[in-house]
Amino acid sequence: MNSFTLISARSLPEAAREAARPKTAVKAGGVDLVDRMKEGLDAPERVVSIARISGLDRIEAGPPAHLGALATLGALASNEGLRRHYPALAAAAGEAATPQIRHMATLGGNLCQRPRCWYYRLAEFDCRKKGGSDCFALEGENRFHAIFDTEQICVCVHPSATGAALLAYGATLHTVSRKGRRDIAIEDFFVGPDPDPTRENRLGPGEIIESVSLRAPSSETRSAYRKLKEKESFDWPLVEVCVVLRLSGGTISDPRVVLGHVAQVPWRSKEAEAVLAGARPSPELYRKASEAAVSAARPLSQNAYKVQLARVALERSLRDALT
């Protein structure tokens, strides 16, 4: 790890001011940033810690909900209001990582964490995500990589569980930077690798997530979250699914289907949503919708099995949500 100056910001305006300076990284829980610095993937000269800024860890379950960027995954998972009104988000936070990490990892950090691609995570591979000229996973060891959009210049998968859930709930991010505050719809937040594979979201330089808000669900809203892993302890998902939709008068409306760990961004499946919208729940419908969801999958040389996992996880999630 390189030597750096640590600045402990006391207020958001101070943090935004400090973060705007060049070669500066923003740290919340530090779970991912410190790992990257140890491996030499990031070598900031200055680190601005926002961990001590008061009020940023608040959780207002609402509904509508308003969540501070410093709320930990553990706190989100155990919040009674969230569990009642946004159960798929609470489940996504509660099943991420490990108890130790959930105690430290924050909502903002979880949304901004970098991919777990093993080529990206090792300094000796100068891959496109680090500004290099190759994606080693395209022709290499890609059993955990993307199955959608694999014609892209980088085929890692986005790791954020809360990202998948917030996309399904249609959340809005509230950010602050030296230029002021702005709102970003979650649909616009995550970006694929083209044209710039070194970033996964639209945050500008020095821009900090302050909070996230979620619309109030209706009494007809149904949701589900599922993930499939090799191990139950200490493992990343092979695929995860978050589904949020409404069921009124026996008919589905406003379906939002998100698959995680299948693409460079949390992957909204418009194909599955098209099958679900206006339909009546049935095992046959769940099967059709999940088949539609993976119809555009183009797996790499070693990860065709993930297509089936994504299909099965979605079929089961729809069953969870609707029965």
Binding site: R116, Y119, L122, E124, F125, G140, E141, K231, E232, F234
Partner: protein, 761 residues
């Protein structure tokens, strides 16, 4: 020497044998003997120190003025080193020693190989300095895939013949020279009877190819040591399975007399076979310390541990087996291509040769070299791989014969002990109902039960020495240069001495982990307990005899006239004349009384040579997602006479957990494009965690084998031999399709399910 009648046996079936006893070696315990401590559940004596953090492992040692060593490793999988420029590193602040490990002209054969080393006043500065070393490599073609390495024209890993490294943990016979062609060395061949004739007599013949992956040791404490020179005296704190092998290797490499090297290993965080000798990093630390004239600590990080400290080699095994219509095995044949990177000695034939009775057995073992980190001994070398292939074959053959796999095994098992273990295990797991229980409440989830046999060797060895001193206050101490890997060896020593002396554990002090003590065994091959326990018992027995002689002198009689029982000395034929332990010890001089014993040879009249064992696994498999959950394991083992029931059970549980992890998760992944490992960590190199651990039931059968005076046998290795095989058989039972490769990932299960449905293939 004296001759004595000794009772041996198992499960109440005892026989009497005449045995030659060496002078000073007590007779093996009689099966009727009742023990106060031995065989009970004794918590580790160092448990509180480890739990509170008070225990100082080698990795915790800090000396005044100590420097930190760091190794620079090759990022290239194959290259010739053309130049190593240390000048920039030497000028960096805090750097006090720099040295070259791979001299110009030497070959790099895997990514992660050691090139140079530095020592600096902080770990961070040492790391920066290592990065500042300029190495010029001339790249050479490489091959990391074993199937590519055997093809004509594949890049040669060794231009001029291999350099196989062996250690104290290897199977015997490892160092024999073999023919080599391209990257393939071998075969190590064996043949008993005539397999062609055997297959001719068979009514059913099955064959299959089984693939297993590389597993790394991943001990919690990494490899390394702290080296401190005082003049020409070298003192070392090492994380090692053999303090004496470290001492001898350092003396040889540093060209100092053995008498000038002292090695300590007080507490140790696991080895699993990869920690014998000083190794490259230990020698580098001692050289850096000599250069800097300051103590140097050099412990590897997790990534280095994954890259370069050894592993269980991969294997591709082809097995063919035949049996008669009524279930008698007639032929067994194995051809294995093991892949241990740049190391050979990758055979897996022991289970095929030694578990089931068969008149015609042929095995051929080939080593395939690739540009990958070297294999080394790992917990039952060759056996978990071999058991996986053999036991899958036994299941397949039973199926072909229309026989129950359990009955088929029992019919062909020559071990009376294992046949009993099969019966006990089958009853506990509910074998008879296994087909009826395949369905679960969830239509996509199937339940399966599988089993496999364990095998190991009664491997205690002569050579170790121990000294037992009885003090005038009645307390005792044991001095024995043994290292406790975390298995409970320290506690084992105390139990044996306390039992023999009639003392409570609290009155016995144990000194281990120091080459200044009488030498103990290296801890490998499950030889520790059967080598140490009889030595410690003999020393305690002899010290007690000396005390008895002192009592005889006090009573003006011959020692033969004095008896000892339950801590009290008495005179034959005179019940009134008695002396308690404390009063007897009070007769001793202030130096107390001591005896040094050397472990006797194994008794050739001993009852059996192989350790048995049987494990049964129950799994649930999601046939749509391919996820496997191990729900239960029943393990029935024997390891002679158990000295500590608690740590024996702990060893078995550890062997099973490591076996499950091997069966389902662990896999070293090398990038085909660069030859580098892509998961050199414990995040993407996946190891079983708490939520993946099943219920484990262990049953240990006492066997009085008379091979040594305590009947003790090691359990560390047999406990992991059958686990992966039993799980693979359970998964195959659940899904109705044969699992032919490890790890059994969701992908592997889905592939097998697909194959069974007639798709894919």
């Amino acid at each position: 020497m004296s001759q004595q009648e000794i009772r041996l046996g198992f499960n109440g079936r005892l026989e009497t044998k005449k045995m030659e006893l060496s002078t000073g070696d007590p007779p093996p315990f009689d099966p009727a003997q009742k023990f106060r401590i031995l065989g009970t559940r004794v918590p580790r004596l160092d448990g509180p120190a480890k739990t509170t953090g008070e225990a100082r492992f080698a990795i915790d040692v800090r000396l005044p003025g100590m420097l930190y060593g760091r190794i620079l490793r090759s990022p290239m999988a194959a290259a010739t080193v053309r130049a190593v420029d240390l000048s920039a590193a030497q000028k960096m602040p805090g750097v006090e020693a720099v040295l070259v490990i791979a001299e110009p002209g030497s070959a790099v054969r895997f990514a992660g190989q050691e090139i140079a080393a530095v020592a600096a006043d902080s770990p961070e500065r040492a790391e920066d300095a290592a990065k500042a070393i300029r190495v010029t490599y001339e790249p050479r073609p490489f091959v990391v895939d074993a199937q590519a390495a055997v093809k004509p024209g594949a890049p040669l890993v060794f231009e001029k013949g291999p350099e196989t490294k062996t250690s104290a943990g290897d199977m015997p016979g490892a160092a024999k020279p073999l023919p080599i062609q391209g990257n393939v060395q071998g075969p190590r061949a064996s043949e008993k009877g005539n397999v062609e004739k055997g297959f001719g007599e068979a009514h059913a013949v099955v064959e299959g190819t089984y693939r297993t992956q590389v597993q790394t040791h991943t001990a919690l404490e990494t490899h390394g040591l702290v080296a401190n020179w005082e003049g020409d005296q070298l003192t070392v704190w090492a994380s090692t399975q053999g303090i004496f092998t470290v001492r001898d290797e350092l003396a040889r490499e540093l060209a100092v007399p053995v008498s000038k090297v002292r090695v300590y290993c007080d507490y140790m965080g696991g080895g699993f076979g990869a920690k014998f000798g000083a190794r490259t990093e230990g020698i580098a630390a001692a050289r850096l310390a000599r250069q800097a004239k300051k103590p140097v600590k050099l412990f590897l990080d997790r990534k280095e541990e994954q890259l370069a400290t050894g592993n269980r080699p991969a294997a591709i095994q082809w097995v063919k087996a035949g049996a008669t219509r009524d279930g008698k095995l007639t032929a067994l044949q194995l051809v294995v291509h093991g892949n241990g990177g740049i190391n050979g000695n990758t055979g897996t034939s022991a289970p095929v040769k030694n578990i089931y009775a068969c008149d015609n057995v042929k095995t051929e073992e080939y080593d395939v070299f690739t540009n990958a980190g070297p294999s080394t001994a790992m917990r039952a070398p060759g056996h978990p791989q071999g058991a996986f292939a053999l036991e899958a074959t036994m299941d397949e053959l039973a199926r072909r014969l229309g026989m129950d796999p359990l009955a088929f095994r029992i019919q062909n098992d020559p071990s009376e002990v294992r046949r009993e273990e099969f019966r006990i295990g089958a009853e506990r797991i509910g074998w008879a109902a296994r087909d009826a229980r395949r369905q679960t409440a969830d239509p996509s989830v199937r339940r399966g039960i599988g089993m496999a046999a364990a095998l190991w060797y009664n491997t205690g060895r002569p050579g170790p020495k121990a000294e037992v001193t009885i003090h005038r206050d009645g307390s005792a101490e044991v001095d024995h240069g043994l290292q406790d890997l975390g298995t409970g060896s320290r506690t084992m020593v105390a139990i044996v001495a306390a039992e023999e002396l009639g003392l409570p554990l609290s009155r016995v002090a144990v000194r281990i982990g120091d080459t200044g003590l009488p030498p103990g065994p290296a801890s490998g091959g499950s030889t520790t307990t059967p080598s140490s326990a009889p030595t410690v018992r003999a020393a305690a027995y002899q010290a007690r005899q000396k005390l008895l002689e002192r009592v005889a002198k006090e009573w003006n009689t011959a020692p033969e006239e004095v008896l000892w029982a339950e801590g009290v000395f008495s005179r034959k034929g005179n019940a009134g004349q008695r002396l308690g332990w404390a009063e007897a010890c009070a007769l001793l001089p202030s130096s107390g009384v001591s005896a040094v014993a050397e472990r006797a040879e194994n008794h050739p009249e001993g009852w059996k040579r192989f350790t048995a064992g049987a494990q049964f696994a129950e799994v649930e498999v999601d046939t749509e997602t391919g996820q496997v959950r191990v729900k239960r394991v029943v393990a029935v083992h024997d390891c002679g006479l158990v000295i500590n029931a608690l740590t024996t059970e702990s060893q078995i549980q550890g062997g099973i957990l490591q076996g499950i992890s091997y069966a389902l998760y662990e896999d070293r992944v090398l990038d085909r494009q660069t030859g580098r490992m892509v998961n050199p960590n414990v995040e993407q190199y996946k190891i079983l965690g708490a939520r993946d651990a099943p219920d484990i039931e262990t049953i240990v059968l006492p066997v009085y084998d008379g091979v040594n005076n305590t009947h003790s046998v090691g359990i560390g290795e047999p406990a992991t031999v059958p686990t992966a095989a039993a799980i693979a058989n359970a998964v195959s039972h659940a899904i109705g399709a044969r699992i032919t490769r490890l790890p059994i990932t969701p992908e592997a299960v889905l592939e097998a399910v697909d194959r069974a449905r007639g798709g894919g293939a």
